[in-house]
């Protein structure tokens, strides 16, 4: 049985009140100002670079997982991050580890070789890259692009600039939709696109050209659609959905992060150099 039918909202006052309040993602961590979160992400990357290799990076990865759960996106984050660990991490580690240049290798063949140092080095590098990936993934799991753009507009970034970024991300999704449309069109003409990997790969190439061509013709259609909505009018524009102004919490989090960064730099210079 189908039970999850979406009930239409009633447009009463309580529904409309949502638009009078700042947009919220329903979680205090994720509701921090997107730019503050962005700054934190950058600072965290700096911290990672300052901390001792391997241990420090591993700690940052762990911290990212904890933060993700605090922000209520734990599951999604872990599933993406696990895949990164397996794919990117595995690949990097293998590529790095087999180029031992020192003498005491466990194993060597031609230019390849594995040694204790190459293992430590590869591990350090791999975990470092993974930590960076974790920070980036976390940021995008926390902040919808739309909110980032709203925050940028709040600090004076031009609407057209923010549109470009938003549209770029949107266009990536649209491309996926285009692929589905073209595949549907092919299927309805009796062209097999379902089934084995070979068949799907075979169907892939003929789809590419139409997908890109239709993306290009969409440019004109989109432009007209936006022009009809007075996109180019230069007067002050307003926001329908809007963000909360950064408050004391935002500044406190940012301050804390700065302290951590400075601490890690001092640590690197004085303690674990």
């Amino acid at each position: 049985m189908i039970s999850n039918t979406v009930a239409p909202p009633t447009l009463d006052a309580s529904y409309l009140d949502r638009f009078r309040k700042p947009a919220s993602l329903g979680n205090p961590v994720r509701d921090l100002n997107p730019l503050v979160l962005l700054a934190c992400a950058v600072l965290l990357a700096v911290v990672t670079a300052m901390l001792p290799e391997l241990v420090g990076s591993a700690a940052v990865c762990l911290a990212a997982v904890v933060l993700a759960f605090l922000g209520g996106v734990g599951r999604r984050f872990v599933s993406v991050f696990a895949r990164l660990v397996l794919a990117v991490g595995g690949f990097l580690f293998v590529v790095r580890v087999i180029f031992a240049k020192d003498a005491d290798t466990y194993w060597s063949w031609g230019p390849f070789g594995i040694s204790p140092t190459s293992i430590t080095e590869a591990a350090g590098f791999t975990v470092f890259v993974l930590a960076m990936c974790a920070i980036l993934t976390l940021f995008f799991a926390f902040v919808p692009i739309r909110h980032l753009m709203l925050a940028l507009e709040d600090v004076g970034v031009h609407r057209k600039a923010s549109y470009i970024v938003l549209a770029s991300f949107q266009a990536i999704t649209d491309l996926g939709a285009n692929v589905r449309t073209v595949l549907d069109a092919q299927k309805s003409r009796g062209v097999e696109t379902e089934g084995s990997i070979v068949r799907r790969a075979g169907a892939f190439l003929p789809v590419l050209a139409p997908v890109f061509l239709s993306a290009m013709s969409q440019t004109e259609e989109r432009a007209l659609a936006l022009d009809a909505r007075a996109f180019n009018v230069s007067s002050r524009h307003s926001q329908f959905v809007f963000l909360r102004r950064p408050g004391i919490t935002d500044w406190a989090v940012l301050g804390g992060m700065l302290v951590l960064t400075v601490g890690s730099i001092i640590g690197k210079v004085l303690l674990w150099h």
């Binding site: 039918t5 549907d184 309805s188 003409r189 009796g190 062209v191 097999e192």
Partner: protein, 264 residues
């Protein structure tokens, strides 16, 4: 030889239920109109018929084969669907290559290709546009190109989704002729339309959808006589028939000539 929907429901991935326990059968050679409000589930229903969508619950059988058991491509060879939005269907850079898509894919002989393409072109009257780009054609003509592209494959069932949208009088006449021709050849034609005059003039069997369900399935004269069904599906009679009814010229007739004959 039928398309049969057995208690079919369908919900889109976002959770919205678009078709709710529909039972419907279209036999070979039939000519059926599907009418109903916007969002009633017409497009979803016909996409279920050609396998583009598969039911969430229930079964769709095309010539006794469950569409869920075979690829869409296989179903679609029997049941051709002309999309509501022609841009979703047409990808060729000129009309001719669009029409020759199936022949090229299936490596037909030149004679067979020419014969079928010529026939499809003749039925749809798009001979003048063969070398043009479908993108530059007016909406209505693009739609005819989409129809022709499907006719080339000689399917046994043809589904037209809103072919009357934006069509001029001449286009309507052409469409009517085309549907008649297909019927003569034993091809079933299912047409979704909002043009009540077209329905009254062209179809014997009319399926009415409202709120995700089929609420009536009967000859056009019966449907347009049934105030209850019309009200529930928020439909209206063709203008001439409305007039006849307002004037108390019983029976409220659908064809204009009948109305004229009733006036003293």
């Amino acid at each position: 030889m039928t398309i049969r929907l057995d208690d079919v429901s369908f919900a889109y991935p976002d959770g919205s239920l678009a078709v709710d326990r529909v039972n419907l059968a279209v036999a070979a050679g039939e000519r059926v109109a599907i009418i109903g409000q916007n969002g009633a589930g017409k497009t979803t229903t016909v996409k279920l018929m050609n396998g583009l969508l598969r039911p969430t619950t229930g079964r769709v059988l095309v010539d006794d084969v469950d569409t869920a058991s075979q690829t869409t491509a296989t179903t679609a060879r029997q049941v051709a669907y002309v999309f509501q939005n022609p841009d979703d269907q047409i990808f060729g850079t000129d009309v001719r290559s669009e029409l020759e898509y199936i022949p090229r894919h299936d490596r037909w002989s030149a004679e067979r290709t020419n014969e079928r393409v010529r026939r499809a072109v003749k039925m749809t009257g798009i001979g003048k546009y063969l070398d043009l780009n479908p993108n530059d054609l007016p909406f209505a003509i693009k739609k005819f190109v989409a129809i022709a592209a499907m006719l080339v494959g000689e399917p046994r069932y043809v589904i037209l989704d809103e072919p009357t949208a934006g069509l001029d009088g001449r286009g309507l006449a052409l469409l009517k002729r085309l549907i008649g021709q297909l019927e003569d050849e034993g091809t079933a034609v299912v047409t979704i339309t909002h043009d009540m005059r077209f329905v009254a003039d062209t179809f014997d069997r009319v399926v009415v959808m409202a709120q995700r369900q089929v609420i009536a399935d009967a000859p056009a004269t019966e449907i347009f006589d049934d105030d209850d069904v019309l009200a529930r599906a928020r439909l209206q009679r063709p203008v001439g028939a409305q007039l006849a009814q307002d004037l108390g010229l019983a029976p409220a007739s659908l064809q204009l000539d009948d109305v004229v004959a009733l006036i003293p």
